[in-house]
Amino acid sequence: MAILEVHDLSVYYGVIQAIKGISFEVNQGEIIALIGANGAGKTTILQTITGLIPAKGGKIFYEGTDITRTPGHKLVSMGIAHVPEGRRVFAQLTVLQNLKLGAFTRKDKDGIEDTLKRVYARFPRLKERQNQVAGTLSGGEQQMLAMGRALMSHPRLIVMDEPSMGLSPIYVNEIFDIIGKINRDGTTVLLVEQNAKKALAIANRAYVLETGKIVLSGDAKDLMNNDSVKKAYLSE
């Protein structure tokens, strides 16, 4: 069953068309990777899904509901969380304040405490640093905070924008490891990555994006062996 369906989506920045009529779907329980070079339109797609940028044409359905025109702040309580590109943690607030903001739309106090415990179990470093100001964390720790913050809303679909960007290899492995665990816990993942090798290794299916269009799609394992994918995205 599709949890997210995107139909013929087009997005503009002023007169420039960044997304040129793309369609794809994400099924319940999957990890879907969206790969493509810098500037291909990956971030634009995620921001349009979560309501930060308006769609010019096409439709977006989430759990069967048309959310194309739903304001971004209403999507969180519907079960969508977004780990944005560049992490965008609230640098002047503490780790704990950041995590609590992740649960902003929730009213169940006990449930929030329970989720906080789980997030701390998943990211022990966040617990150690819960009273530290987020701006003083390392890049990898900020990425964990951005992921933990997204998990605080208890999402059914989590979209992640380049979670491994700028991180040291140890952190990259750890982050991908955690993405796998989040998915095994029952959360559907839409993952945007420039690290195509790692993304394809973890994903069920993938879409390849070039200048606002999907040029290839299929099973992640098949794409990993696809010659043009190998040449464009997997060569060192």
């Binding site: 965008r88 607030l93 304040q97 903001l101």
Partner: protein
């Protein structure tokens, strides 16, 4: 003995600047705009109290509550009608709109109340305070103003630190997009900020006119500019900065009026601002733009 009187009066005037400066600094911090009409909301608040108390004969406290309600509604209306449609527009367009709103309020007041100076009846009816065995008198307005400022500062700080709406304000002030991703309604949060700033402006208007009891449609503009100066002084966007900036401004203004020249006091105040900004461009408590890792 008189130095102490000047100092206390300066702190009291500075408390009013601080209360007004809070409105500028919160709106700037959260909506990223200079609300130049903020000073005129003070004037509207003062006229609301004047009408309620002097014309309609209501008790001062009820008049103050009415003024707070009117100014809050006015602030929300201005935000919704004039500023919200410009969200995402250039800051120059927003600034020009704010100046337009300022003139609109002044001219509406001219139309309704005329240009005659009204004699404002103090909302503080307590007796004056005699200190040092009767050698020194401090007016009750002065004391009440300082107490109001302290109470407002404490209340606002705990509102921001301990309520969800307060945390949402901090989130919006740092990153609107990320705040939206938390499920925070950015427009609503900005509206709440305007409501708080405007309610405080009503209080400031009532206190200001209780201290200096002449009221005209232009009453708000000079204190507005000075409070804006105080906000920049303390570090725009910072709540403790508004307090410190307001107090310094009030004290410097009053002492230079007393000891140097009452004509030059404004020049001295603004020179001080320029010097401070040359040394610390972000103001006394202003934060540097945080670098992203």
């Amino acid at each position: 003995m008189s130095f102490l009187t000047y100092l206390i009066n300066g702190i009291s005037l500075g408390s009013i600047y601080a209360i007004i400066a809070l409105g500028y600094t919160m709106v700037y911090g959260i909506a990223r705009m200079l609300n130049f009409a903020h000073g005129d909301i003070i004037m509207v608040g003062a006229f609301a109290v004047f009408t309620a108390v002097s014309t309609l004969g209501m008790p001062p406290f009820i008049g103050l509550i009415a003024a707070i309600a009117i100014c809050t509604a006015l602030g929300l209306t201005i935000e919704f009608v004039a500023y919200r449609p410009l969200r995402g527009a250039t800051s120059l367009a927003v600034l020009i709109t704010a100046i337009g709103v300022s003139y609109l309020l002044q001219n509406l007041a001219l139309l309704i109340f005329g240009s005659n100076t009204r004699q404002f009846t103090s909302i503080v009816t307590l007796p004056n305070l005699k200190l040092a065995g009767g050698k020194m008198t401090v007016s009750s307005v002065t004391i009440v103003t300082i107490v109001c400022c302290i109470v407002i500062m404490i209340a606002l700080t705990s509102f921001i630190n301990h309520t969800k709406t307060g945390q949402a304000m901090l989130a919006v002030s740092e990153d609107r997009g990320a705040a939206t991703l938390m499920g925070i309604n950015v427009n609503r949060t900005i509206a709440v900020t305007f409501a708080i700033g405007s309610a405080l402006a009503a209080v400031a208007g009532a206190l200001l006119c209780s201290m200096y009891p002449s009221l005209t449609p232009y009453t708000g503009s000079m204190p507005g500019i000075k409070a804006f100066t105080a906000a920049v002084f303390g570090g725009i966007g910072s709540i403790p900065g508004a307090l410190i900036g307001g107090l310094i401004l009030g004290v410097v203004e009053n002492l230079s009026k007393a000891y140097i020249s009452s004509q030059l006091s404004d020049a001295i105040v603004f020179s001080l601002l320029i010097i401070i900004l040359l040394v610390r461009p972000t103001g006394i408590l202003g934060k540097k733009i945080q670098e992203k890792v």
